[in-house]
């Protein structure tokens, strides 16, 4: 095709997708260098902003001394526990809402409203019920991640192309067969979008609760370092957490995109 003919000639480097991204990354690095210089010559206050070079050095330190790997494990465990619980409860709930249209029309708005509520604010209640440990974190994260999965499951099922449903009808499929062989497979991309959203909320909730209430894991690490006024360490741990969250999010997106062609 004509398009292929143009692509055969190698596109200039500036036109690829990675060039602007690299420019963006380099800009961020450049900002870091500017900060380093300004801090070293005393224009900016070192007690408020640590030297970027010290922050970078602190990464290694926090891994070695602060048990970052362990804590990542704790937080990851909490995220995945909450995450899988959300799927185990959310998908069936979504199916239920889809199956009984009345339930859907009555409750879908409420579920959406729940998604916007600041549940973390009720942390004292959760703590009284579930203690000052991982369980509380997992339950709160579960509460956060549930709504998107329910909503996207309902959406995915109801958006099954009607022609596919008609194929099923013409083959006289039973209701169970119709569900497992047509509706559910067709809804999987949507469900996974819901999982991506829900698990993202789980991460934010887990780290958030750990941080706000000092309940262990990576969130608490940030608190500890901040209280010790270890600025490079604090910045490094914050950067570490944000970095892992971004990677987690990117992975979720890749899997989601990989599932899309199935539609």
């Amino acid at each position: 095709m004509r398009i292929a003919a143009v692509a055969e000639r190698r596109a200039p480097l500036t036109a690829t997708r990675w060039f602007p991204l690299t420019v963006g990354a380099l800009t961020i690095v450049a900002v870091g260098v500017i900060f380093e210089v300004l801090l070293r010559i005393g224009v900016l206050n070192r007690y408020i902003i640590p030297l970027p070079s010290e922050v970078l050095a602190a990464f290694e330190r926090i891994v070695a001394e602060e048990g970052v790997i362990e804590r990542t494990g704790t937080s990851a465990f909490e995220v995945l526990s909450a995450g899988f619980a959300c799927i185990a409860v959310g998908v069936p709930l979504g199916v239920l809402l889809y199956r009984f249209n009345i339930l859907r029309r009555a409750l879908e708005d409420w579920v959406a409203a729940l998604a916007a509520a600041p549940i973390v604010l009720a942390y004292p209640l959760f703590m009284v019920l579930f203690g000052r440990g991982s369980m509380t974190v997992i339950v709160i994260a579960f509460a956060y991640g549930l709504a998107p999965i329910v909503l996207k499951t309902v959406e995915g099922l109801s958006e099954t192309r009607s022609v596919l449903v008609n194929v099923g009808k013409s083959l006289n499929l039973s209701e169970a067969q119709m569900f497992w062989k047509i509706l559910f497979p067709s809804a999987i991309p949507s469900i996974f979008t819901g999982i991506r959203l829900g698990w993202t909320f789980c991460v934010i909730a887990v780290i958030g609760v750990e941080f706000l209430v000092n309940l262990g894991g990576l969130g608490q690490l940030i608190n500890d370092l901040a209280e010790r006024y270890d600025m490079p360490g604090t910045y490094a741990s914050i950067g570490f957490v944000i970095g892992i969250s971004m990677i987690f999010f990117i992975i979720l997106e890749w899997v989601e995109k990989w599932l899309q062609p199935a539609r």
């Binding site: 095709m1 004509r2 292929a4 003919a5 143009v6 000639r9």
Partner: protein, 287 residues
């Protein structure tokens, strides 16, 4: 109302034959080395004061590129486009553009749409509303000032766009197939409106179109372009009487002009068709 200037356009009382717009050996190529496509290939013609010139050609003849060059939308081009002696190197205040797509601002009422160019220039509200109302009346949309585009038909929306361009008092009105999206009857009637307005304002107009009957109905001269690379094949004089209405469409003279130009156009149009068929066949083989 007294502040509205219509009959006295700058230069109107001077030499009526002096060209307002000079297209001088204009060419434009897209793409680089291997994949270069010449859209416009050394085109030259003039538009005189008060004239209505149509540029007609098959799809792919570069007329839209020409429209963009004259409108200053394409920064670089070869050759010269001069308006009143100045080379066009960007959107020029003396050039008023009317686009092919529906281009009214959906969030503004009709009168706010039409007054827009004056608003940009900082004209006071009462004055710009006065001017706007004048042109709204001229395109036949009296009473619709407060309506919104979503409440108007396609033809009415295009009339709003035309009024909006006219309100800025351009030396030359440049239109790119403004009626392409409308049905035939609406076209003919709007064509009437355009002719009326043009004759009343003595507005110099350049119309890009692919519609032969429209071109003959409205213009004094027609520039016929070849298929890509676009050159001027011929410039035809349309000597139908003025003032003109859409009644002229049925006359013998009209038919002769149309047939005459169609002869030239047909050649180019079929070249265009052949080439696209070749491309489609090649694509099928490769793809």
């Amino acid at each position: 109302m007294g502040s509205v200037q219509t009959a006295t356009r700058p230069g109107a009382s001077l030499d009526a034959d002096k060209p307002v717009l000079i297209i001088d050996d204009v060419y434009k190529t897209f793409g680089d080395a291997e994949e270069a496509v010449t859209a416009v290939d050394h085109v030259s013609f003039n538009v005189k004061q008060g004239e209505f010139v149509a540029v007609i050609g098959p799809s792919g003849c570069g007329k839209s590129t020409l429209f963009n060059i004259i409108g200053g939308m394409l920064g670089e081009y070869g050759g010269d486009v001069r308006i009143d002696g100045e080379r066009i190197a960007g959107p020029h205040p003396a050039v008023g553009m009317v686009f092919q797509e529906e281009s009214t601002f959906p969030w503004r009422s009709v009168i706010d749409n039409v007054a827009f160019p004056l608003e940009l220039r900082g004209v006071a509200k009462s004055e710009r509303y006065d001017r706007a109302r004048h042109f709204i009346g001229m395109v036949g949309l009296d009473g619709f000032e407060k309506r919104y585009p979503s409440q108007l038909s396609g033809g009415m929306k295009q009339r709003v766009s035309i009024a909006r361009t006219l309100v800025s008092n351009p030396r030359i009105l440049l239109m790119d197939e403004p009626f392409a999206a409308l049905d035939e009857q609406t076209r003919l009637l709007l064509g009437d409106k355009i002719t009326q307005i043009q004759q009343e304002l003595k507005q110099t107009t350049l119309l890009i179109t692919h519609n032969l009957t429209e071109a003959v109905q409205l213009s004094d001269r027609i520039v016929v372009m070849t298929y890509r690379p676009g050159k001027v094949k011929r410039i035809a004089d349309i000597d139908l009487a003025r003032p003109r209405t859409s009644d002229v469409v049925g006359s013998d003279a009209f038919g002769r002009h149309v047939a005459d130009i169609w002869n030239d156009l047909r050649e180019e149009a079929s070249r265009g068709m052949q080439e696209s068929e070749q491309v489609a066949r090649a694509d099928r083989r490769r793809g």
